[in-house]
């Protein structure tokens, strides 16, 4: 079998599965970098939280609605775990169902975000209204972009699996996508708390 591990497997035949180890190390490093990316944007938001100029402020947030969409996103982490579990047991058929479920939950969250953005624009909050608006849209927008990339990766996994081209040693790997997906969810928990719930 041919894979990216061809370079390493000679050197590490005795240390478990090296390909996973190499890729996961890289993934964790990447997620560490992402944490600082969101950290900088969250700091910007905190700086401008009350800099609302003549525009609307945090009072336009619809907490019940966003709580519901947050719940949807959190549930997608559960289906992601189930998908990963099925793939590890070699049951790709069942795994695909959970992957599709995860992607659908992610898409639902994105739809909610688009709805929410539209509402806010109607109520007069745009990126040019105030530094508050700029930092809110940048932070949640970049997070939404990450969810969208995640949905794309999940769809590619389903596609590869359907075509019989999925292999746990391949570059597209359920475990790695799961790591990414959980990270994006955790970031949302922070964003939801800091942006929507925290009153300062």
């Amino acid at each position: 079998m041919v894979s990216e591990g061809a370079v390493v497997d000679h050197d590490f035949e005795d240390t478990g599965n090296p390909i996973h180890r190499v890729r996961k190390t890289a993934m964790w490093a990447f997620l560490g970098s992402e944490a600082f990316f969101f950290g900088a944007m969250i700091s910007t938001f905190l700086l401008y939280r009350n800099t609302i100029g003549d525009g609307p402020g945090a009072e336009i947030f619809n907490i019940p609605f966003t709580s519901a969409s947050s719940f949807v996103l959190l549930m997608s982490s559960l289906t992601m775990v189930l998908a990963d579990n099925s793939f590890q047991k070699g049951d790709q058929r069942q795994g695909r169902v959970w992957l599709i479920g995860t992607a659908l939950l992610g898409t639902t969250f994105l739809a909610g975000q688009i709805f929410e953005f539209t509402e806010f624009v109607h109520e007069g909050l745009t990126i040019s209204t105030s530094p508050f608006g700029s930092s809110f849209y940048m932070l949640t927008g970049f997070h939404g972009l990450h969810v969208a990339v995640g949905v794309l990766l999940l769809s590619m996994l389903v596609f590869f699996s359907l075509r019989g081209r999925y292999s746990p040693d391949g570059g597209m790997n359920v475990e790695l996508v799961a790591l990414y997906w959980h990270f994006v969810d955790i970031v949302w928990i922070v964003i939801f708390t800091v942006v929507y719930l925290l009153q300062i």
């Binding site: 041919v2 990216e4 050197d11 590490f12 890289a26 600082f36 800099t51 570059g171």
Partner: protein
């Protein structure tokens, strides 16, 4: 011990331009980094000469104010992002896998992608001279200066160019982290790794944690300029100071990114040329890590004149003083390494000693910045310019020159000329000090930096002239270096595998190494493992050269019994060449170009569409392509 370079007879497919474009071999990528960095070094050096010519006397007329702003901004951006970072990447790419006994990096194609993205982004930054003008707001790009004048795209080039170079560097760093933590040879525990590898670890962590912060700042800058956001708009209570924080949270770790690999190189050269082990290996390693940690907590010492308040200023001042401790530890360790050694004053050793002495001067002027009232006087004066050139030229550049002389034999199989090398060293050292020492005095006399002309009679004329003469002397030194490279490449002395009596694994393999680096993966038992294979220790604790076993088999670890070495090599699957990384990186840079011109309507959107198609082609092809093709 003249071990002939084993002549590789590469197949036709392994030569030619196409093989370089599609290569995923870490050694070739390292060489491409080096060549690209050197070309940009000449370009950035030319810009420096323009600056010095303009400032040679009062009321210079070589450059207009507008041209001067672009030239000094591009000089800074070039030297930081397109010279020192990639030359460090060149050494890291070539030697980290060799020093840890690996056959390649963890992700060969990501490695190629990172190189091409760097190279295209740097070229892209230079196309700004043709389309709309080069960035002209200094490499620090302070808002609100950088967010104004949106009818020019100059600072859009800055925002996008730095962003792309950052992504390239991020990809490279993640690759190094994965390589070093998972692909070391058996027995190569973390505390047996060469210091250069350790410094690569620290540098990579600094980069992956600091680049995203400036990334956010650069996006905010781009959005402010093009989409009407208000991050740095003071008239809407946006805070330009935010940019300074985001920039320097990246910018200060960045200066350690520039210097730590050079420190690693010097830590490799000094033990070899002193014929002693590195004094206090663990101390040097942990000092490097400490510098990395502290480097994240001192950024605001660049902002002492911004009005942060006494508490913040005192805190950051103290943290800055603290960082002198691990740095000082390293310097004393290097001195301890040479102490009592039988020194070989070769060119790499001279450059290393030059590095230490010049870096000490730069470090000491750096400590003066931690004293807030003094820094307030020095801020934005030529004193600062003198300081950071002492650490970045006298430190980093001399360190990388030392590395070039030390490792050139491994790259090419030929020695660089020692005679010309010594001329190169002394001309560079004298020229450097002549250029930058007077700038301390100019700064203390009140000459502001980033000024395109000055009046006569301020007492600055003589020092400026001296500085300009020095800069031309540096240029002569660079020409001598080029001459040395060309001459030695053609008919330099053959180097053999181990010309310096080295201590680390890269010297166990042939020069240049075979594609797969090692026929047999080495097993490591010590720090400086190769030295222990060559030397034993007698009762008095003195090193004794061990008799060479059967025709230099000790030094030629790769030659497993002569002819059948190649039979071994046959079973090693190396990753196949791929042209998808270069396509993907080109696509990403075209996307970047689209962002620069996004406010110009059709051109911007056209470029964005083209970039999206090209990068999608590159990435999809990449994802569908097996790394080692079956048909071999």
């Amino acid at each position: 011990m003249a071990v002939a370079t084993r002549e590789q007879a590469p197949a036709a497919a392994d030569r030619g331009v196409w093989s370089w474009i599609t290569t995923v071999d870490h050694k070739r990528i390292g060489i491409m980094y080096a060549v690209a960095a050197f070309i940009f070094f000449l370009v950035g050096g030319f810009e420096a000469l323009l600056i010095r010519t303009q400032l040679a006397g009062p009321n210079g007329t070589v450059l207009s104010a507008e041209a001067y702003n672009q030239i000094f901004t591009m000089h800074g951006l070039t030297m930081v992002f397109a010279v020192i970072m990639p030359i460090a990447a060149a050494f890291q790419n070539y030697f980290v896998p060799l020093q840890i006994g690996a056959r390649d990096v963890a992700f060969p194609r990501i490695n190629a992608f990172a190189f091409w993205l760097f190279f295209f982004s740097a070229l892209f930054l230079y196309t700004s001279f043709l389309f709309g003008g080069a960035p002209d707001g200094a490499w620090v790009g302070y808002a609100p200066l950088s967010t104004q004048l949106t009818e020019y795209v100059r600072m859009d080039y800055y925002s996008v160019g730095a962003q792309l170079l950052g992504v390239a560097s991020l990809a490279g760093s993640i690759n190094f982290i994965a390589t070093i933590f998972t692909m070391r040879a058996p027995g190569m525990s973390l505390m047996r790794m060469p210091v250069f590898v350790w410094m690569t670890v620290v540098t990579s962590f600094l980069l992956i944690l600091s680049l995203p912060v400036i990334g956010v700042g650069l996006w905010q800058l781009l959005f402010d300029r093009n989409f009407g956001t208000l991050f740095y708009a003071a008239q809407a209570q946006g805070d330009p100071l935010l940019w300074q924080h985001l920039f320097w949270i990246f910018g200060h770790p960045e200066v350690y990114v520039l210097i730590l690999p050079a420190m690693g190189i010097v830590s490799e050269i000094l033990p070899v040329m002193s014929r002693k082990p590195l004094f206090g290996y663990a101390f040097v390693v942990f000092s490097g890590i400490a510098i990395g940690f502290l480097g994240f907590g001192v950024w605001a010492h660049h902002m002492f004149t911004a009005g942060l308040g006494p508490v913040a200023e005192a805190g950051f001042g103290l943290a800055t003083m603290l960082i002198a401790i691990p740095t000082g530890v390293k310097i004393f360790n290097w001195i301890g390494t040479t102490w009592g050694g039988r020194l070989k004053l070769t060119t790499p050793m001279l450059f290393s000693l030059g590095f230490i002495s010049m870096f000490v001067i730069g470090g000491l002027s750096g400590v003066t910045h931690s004293i807030v009232p003094a820094d307030t006087q020095q801020h934005d004066s030529y004193y600062i310019v003198a300081h950071f050139h002492y650490v970045l030229f006298g430190g980093a550049v001399l360190g990388y020159m030392a590395g070039a002389y030390y490792w050139f034999p491994k790259w090419t199989g030929k020695m660089l000329s020692e005679t010309i090398g010594k001329w190169h060293f002394w001309i560079t050292l004298i020229g450097f000090n002549l250029t930058f020492a007077p700038q301390h005095i100019l700064g203390l006399d009140g000459m502001p930096r980033r000024t395109y002309r000055y009046d006569a009679g301020l007492g600055w004329d003589g020092w400026n002239l001296m500085s300009t003469i020095g800069s031309y002397l540096i240029a002569v030194g660079v020409l001598v270096f080029i001459w040395n490279i060309i001459r030695s490449w053609r008919n330099g002395e053959p180097a053999g595998n181990d010309p310096w009596d080295g201590r680390t694994l890269e010297w166990t393999t042939s020069s240049p190494p075979p594609v797969h680096n090692f026929d047999e993966v080495p097993v490591v038992h010590h720090v400086d493992d190769f030295w222990y294979r060559k030397y034993g220790i007698d009762e008095d604790g003195r090193a004794v050269k061990m008799p060479e076993v059967s025709g230099g088999a000790l030094t030629v670890d790769t030659d497993t019994g002569g002819e059948d070495g190649d039979a071994d090599a046959h079973d090693i699957h190396m990753p196949s060449p791929s042209y998808f990384p270069i396509i993907a990186s080109a696509g990403v840079v075209i996307l970047g170009a689209g962002l620069v011109f996004i406010s110009s309507g059709a051109i911007g959107f056209g470029l964005l569409a083209l970039g999206a198609i090209v990068s999608l082609w590159g990435f999809m092809g990449w994802a569908g392509e097996p790394i080692t093709k079956e048909a071999h």
